[in-house]
């Protein structure tokens, strides 16, 4: 089974914010090494780094007219912060990996989505 793990940062402190600076060097290091360990887990294909949700532009087309709005489609707090892929035997393995994503325990959440085998 192939899964996509979608990381929602929620209130997770992010580098470059005062909240992040509030963490000890040890805590910051733990976050980096947790992400590194996930990227090195067999079966994981890491995603490309995404810019902050604040930099997002949301596009909708209504009556043939393109409407652009500042910010993510959902609330900034609920916006997607990152993603990666995981090839695993079953959902339990994917849930265990998701639980190791720092955001899952720091105020955010990880959504586990199975990918369709046949593709488009």
């Amino acid at each position: 089974m192939k899964y996509m793990l979608l990381i929602h940062q929620g209130t997770t402190p992010l580098p470059g914010t005062p909240e992040w600076e509030g963490l000890s060097a040890e805590e910051q290091g733990a976050v980096y090494s947790a992400y590194q360990a996930i990227n090195e887990t067999p079966g994981v294909t890491s995603g490309v780094r995404m810019g902050d949700p604040e930099t997002a532009t949301t596009v909708q087309v209504k009556d043939g007219k393109t409407l652009s709005t500042d910010g993510p489609f959902v609330e900034t707090k609920e916006a997607l912060g990152g993603y990666f892929f995981f090839e695993a035997g079953d959902l339990d393995a994917a849930i265990e990996l998701a639980a190791r994503v720092p955001a899952a325990s720091m105020g955010g959440a990880v959504e586990v989505r199975p990918l369709e085998e046949e593709g488009w």
């Binding site: 089974m1 899964y3 695993a88 035997g89 079953d90 959902l91 339990d92 849930i95 586990v112 199975p114």
Partner: protein, 408 residues
């Protein structure tokens, strides 16, 4: 004394009481379906061929009598149906994982024993990736063999809604890769908690009803004890359900709730109490020196409640333990009621009045009202009974409260 696994009364489920063929169906459904799902990896196909096999059995067994191993007969027949079907579809789509297996399968036709995969099935149905109401529905459908219509009726939702819930759950199991297995040791404690919670929820849904769901929950609980004989809380839960259910016939009289103290003990099911106590002893023995779990504690309380003389200080102590393990205002309320019996209504009332967050719970007001009545404070008791009556939903309890109110 009955064996634990036979402790459950028969219900009028999908397989009604009566002819031995139907009894065998009832007993076999969960096992047959579990074996088929394990083999086919597909809930829908397994269910369809299981139903066909049961239909064939109903015809054939009526003429030829029951085979020596009805379960094996049903599994083999259903499995062959599935293989036939897959073979027919094979040219269209190589769809199912067991295609490679079909050659070997036919040689196993004479098998009389199949490994019991009900435990794999219940852990799959109660997987935390499924919503609790879907876990409940799926467990009743697959292991209990209840029809979608029966489950819908029991949970007061339209049949279409329940059917949709089941379809969605089965689809998710397949699409999201929920494994069909007993969870590994490091996941087992959490997963077992979910399974026990589902069984207890089924029991409670049937507690005030006609008993169909309660009986089903007891059957599931007994199966869990059989399948996981070393799990203390599985025995604890079975004990709890048996001890509560033993008083079923005495809990209502002419449409009115009867308090335990006023119940006709002749109506209690002594055999069930005995079976419940054996399960409780087993739960306690399995726990050894480790602290006892929440179901076992509640079973111990239920056991003290069916003693001739109720040991109220003992019940208070057990509630203290329970509140420590699983803090909740409802447990505190029950503790306060026991405290009132042990140390008098004033102490109990003081304890109740310290509780918060129970204003919408009729039992909170009913318990207060009763203690106020005993303390000879009729005006406040009157008010509290009225509050309870505004909130109560069950008719027998309403009748009871009204009579209580009128007697002030």
């Amino acid at each position: 004394m009955r064996a634990l696994t036979e402790g459950a009364p028969r219900s009028n489920g999908a397989f009604a009481d009566g002819p031995p063929v139907e009894q065998a169906f009832r007993e076999q459904w969960g096992r047959v379906l579990a074996a088929l799902i394990g083999f086919l990896g597909d809930f829908d196909l397994a269910e369809e061929v299981a139903q066909e096999a049961f239909a064939t059995a109903a015809e054939r067994w009526a003429h030829d009598g029951m085979p020596a191993h009805p379960g094996a007969w049903l599994i083999t027949t259903a499995r062959n149906r599935a293989i036939d079907r897959i073979r027919r579809e094979r040219t269209l789509l190589a769809k199912y994982k067991q295609l490679d297996l079909q050659e070997t399968v036919e040689q196993e036709m004479q098998d009389t024993t199949f490994s019991d995969e009900r435990l794999e099935l219940i852990f799959t149905c109660c997987h935390p990736a499924l919503a609790r109401n879907a876990q409940v529905a799926l467990t009743l459908r697959t292991l209990g063999g209840l029809s979608t219509e029966q489950i819908a009726r029991a949970f007061l939702v339209p049949e279409a809604t329940m059917a949709q819930r089941l379809v969605r759950a089965k689809h998710k199991i397949k699409a999201a890769g929920i494994p069909f297995r007993i969870p590994p040791a490091h996941l087992l404690p959490d997963r077992l908690d979910a399974v026990l919670a589902v069984v207890y929820l089924i029991f409670n849904a049937g507690y005030d009803g006609p008993g169909e769901l309660a009986a089903e929950a007891i059957r599931l609980g007994a199966a869990l004890v059989e399948l996981m004989p070393d799990e203390s809380e599985a025995s604890g839960l079975l004990a709890l359900m048996l001890l509560h259910d033993s008083r079923r016939a005495a809990r209502f009289s002419e449409g009115e709730l009867v308090l335990l103290a006023d119940q006709d003990r002749g109506l209690w099911d002594v055999e069930q109490i005995e079976t419940g106590r054996v399960a409780l002893q087993r739960a306690l023995a399995l726990r050894g020196r480790k602290s006892v779990g929440v179901y076992t504690l509640q079973a111990a309380i239920a056991s003290l409640h069916v003693e001739g003389n109720r040991d109220w200080p003992g019940i208070v102590w057990l509630y203290d333990e329970l509140a420590r393990l699983a803090p909740s205002p409802v447990i505190e309320l029950n503790r306060a009621v026991a405290l009132a019996e042990a140390q008098g209504p004033a102490v109990g009332l003081a304890s109740i009045d310290r509780l918060e967050g129970l204003d919408g719970y009729h039992y909170f007001h009913a318990a207060r009202a009763e203690l106020l009545r005993r303390l000879d404070r009729p005006t406040e008791a009157h008010e509290a009974f009225e509050r309870a009556l505004m909130l109560v939903r069950s008719e027998p309890e309403r009748v009871f409260l009204e009579r209580r109110l009128a007697s002030l």
